[in-house]
């Protein structure tokens, strides 16, 4: 456990003690020291049975509970505690990196989930949040879902999305790191913002950083900041994203694009909660919740050696996988109608709905660009037409072409048979498929900038990938 600045006081002296249930004596010593230094009385137990007895004796309302105990399963102990006093805030601690375990604990009513080893700031912050929330609605009671399937910037009431809303609600009060995956355009940043907005940090900053859009040599300075004169061109001090997010949430989008050197520094940051701006002599402690996202398969990136396994385990605490639009059923129509209303107002047009034929097409379209692509199609229709209904004639030609041919190239040139094309990709590694698609798109659209627009990524992302492939080939 790293120690930096003196921990802040977490509660008034009269507050009931925090109950620590941890069977490893040396860890008990460390956690006790952290809490006592923060002014928080603490009582400890080394087994589930002793923990339950101390829980009854002390009236503790905040419990730090190891999930793996010598006599009982930690989740069973938590269930007994919550049954006896539902207002109890149980902070589950474990070194078991099982994602299912974290999700299971949160669903069962844990207030937060801490993966060992965690630092002093994280522990104090978590206890402070738990103490502050005692007296609020019990865990799981809060829901931010609105009528009509709207939830914190998301639209859609499909079962898949309802599950996502539930998961966001249950993890938002935690400080646990959230790892969002999903295809491009599925709403990863909306999801990150929702987690932040529903958290105890909602009043703090939400700082998004797209790791794929920033050249590798500038990324360190973007994340950690730099001092004036630290390198050529550093003409002034720059506060990095991690410091800017102090007290709030740092959202690292396209985290798998980060180069290995910087991954090492990010890992150190996660281990110690300290940042050291480029050129600074001393580190500085920050209190930041990390949310990260990628449109790649992170486990595959680890297997390929492009993403550090230890960093993956640190980040991949609570995963959220956003489903692609094509499997969200009627959500596509709900989103289209909602967005159409907004765009019509913005453009001062008189659109009132969508023709049934277009709705049918929307339902069968694969939407490779997901919600972002749907919005673009509708924006195009609204800007170029008057309404009142979105008709088939208002849709982009490539979309109609795709529909008429039963699929294939989204935009141009030669008709293709998508099933056959996809069939040829099945069984190949994801990285190879990505490369094939990128190279083919560049060839078809005559260059990186146009291909980047079609693929909905920044040109720098494509240039960087091309350079990496060239380097691999020697």
């Amino acid at each position: 456990m790293a120690k930096g600045r003196p921990a802040s006081t977490v509660s008034a002296p009269a507050a009931p003690p925090v109950l620590l249930v941890e069977d490893t004596p040396s860890l008990q010593m460390v956690y006790e020291a952290v809490l006592r230094n923060a002014g928080q009385p603490v009582v400890s137990a080394a087994t589930g049975g002793e923990g339950l007895r101390r829980f009854r004796e002390t009236g503790a309302l905040v419990v730090l509970l190891d999930l793996i105990l010598p006599d009982r399963d930690g989740l069973d102990v938590m269930a007994e505690m919550l049954a006896a006093r539902p207002e109890t805030r149980v902070l589950v601690i474990t070194a078991d990196g099982s994602i299912n375990r974290a999700v299971e604990a949160m669903r069962a009513g844990a207030h937060d989930f801490l993966v060992k080893p965690f630092d002093e700031t994280r522990l104090v912050s978590s206890v402070r949040n738990a103490l502050a929330s005692v007296g609020d609605a019990p865990p799981g009671a809060r829901s931010a879902e609105l009528p009509g399937g709207a939830f914190q910037g998301f639209i859609g009431s499909s079962p898949a999305m309802r599950e996502i809303y539930g998961r966001i609600t249950s993890i938002s009060r935690s400080l646990a790191t959230v790892f969002i995956s999903g295809e491009s355009g599925t709403g990863k940043e909306v999801c990150a913002q929702a987690v932040h907005d529903l958290s105890n940090r909602a009043e703090g900053p939400f700082v998004p950083l797209n790791c794929g859009a920033i050249p590798a040599d500038l990324l360190e300075s973007e994340v950690f900041g730099h001092l004036r004169g630290a390198f050529t061109g550093a003409i002034a001090n720059k506060i990095g994203a991690a410091a800017a997010a102090d007290g709030g949430t740092l959202f690292l989008d396209e985290v798998c694009e980060m180069d290995l050197n910087l991954q090492t520094k990010l890992l150190r940051f996660l281990q110690t909660s300290t940042i050291q701006p480029v050129g600074a002599a001393t580190p500085r402690k920050v209190d930041v919740r990390i949310i990260c996202a990628t449109n790649r398969d992170p486990a595959e990136e680890v297997r390929k050696g492009r993403f550090r396994a230890d960093l993956f385990y640190r980040l991949h605490v609570v995963p959220i996988h956003l489903p692609p639009l094509r499997i969200r059923g009627e959500d596509v129509i709900e989103i289209a109608e909602h967005v159409l209303g907004q765009l019509s107002d913005e453009e001062s047009k008189s659109f009132t709905g969508i023709e049934d034929e277009v709705k049918a097409l929307f339902r069968r379209h694969p939407w490779p660009g997901n919600v972002r692509q749907l919005i673009n199609v509708l924006r195009n229709a609204v800007v170029l037409n008057e309404g009142p209904l979105v008709t088939r004639a208002m849709l982009p030609l490539e979309m109609l072409h795709f529909d008429e041919t039963g699929g294939g190239a989204m935009a141009e040139p030669e008709p293709a048979e998508p099933t056959a094309a996809v069939g040829g990709l099945i069984g190949r590694p994801l990285a190879e498929i990505e490369r094939l698609v990128i190279e083919e798109t560049i060839a078809r659209y005559g260059g990186v900038p146009r291909a980047a627009r079609v693929l909905d990524v920044s040109p720098s992302t494509l240039y960087r990938k091309l350079a990496a492939w060239e380097q691999q080939q020697g």
Binding site: M1, A2, K3, G4, D23, T24, P25, S26, L27, M29, V30, A33, V34, N37, I68, P70, T94, A95, D96, G97, S98, K116, P117, E120, Q271, A309, D310, Y313
Partner: protein
Amino acid sequence: MLIGTSPLNAPGWRQASPSPRAEPTLLSHAVLDDLRDLIGTESFGAFLAQVHADLCAAAEDIARADAAGDFAGLRRHSHAMIGVAGAIGATEVEEVARALNAAARATDIEGTRSRVAVLRRISEALCDEIAWQREGQRPL
């Protein structure tokens, strides 16, 4: 394995300085310094003794569970090893223990066996280092 013999629970200990060891270590001295500040110099010797005892016990429990083919035991004891090693900044030991934990969860016999072998070697070295750290504590 070196076992320190100093009366570590006695108050008034400080770290020997400068460190005579220059080779790479399994421990993070920066993390240990932080822990000394956190726990207090007077109690730090007792803490190191407890860390040593917990790590040695976990290593022995892991060896026993491995010999018995007890995956639940491997998972439980590697969990303890991850926690303690992680807390003192022994990231190499922590990572191997984490890999062992994952292999035990997957009931992967080959995976656990190879990790147990590596873990045995590096956890012994870690215990040696901690013992050396303990002996480096001198009464004021």
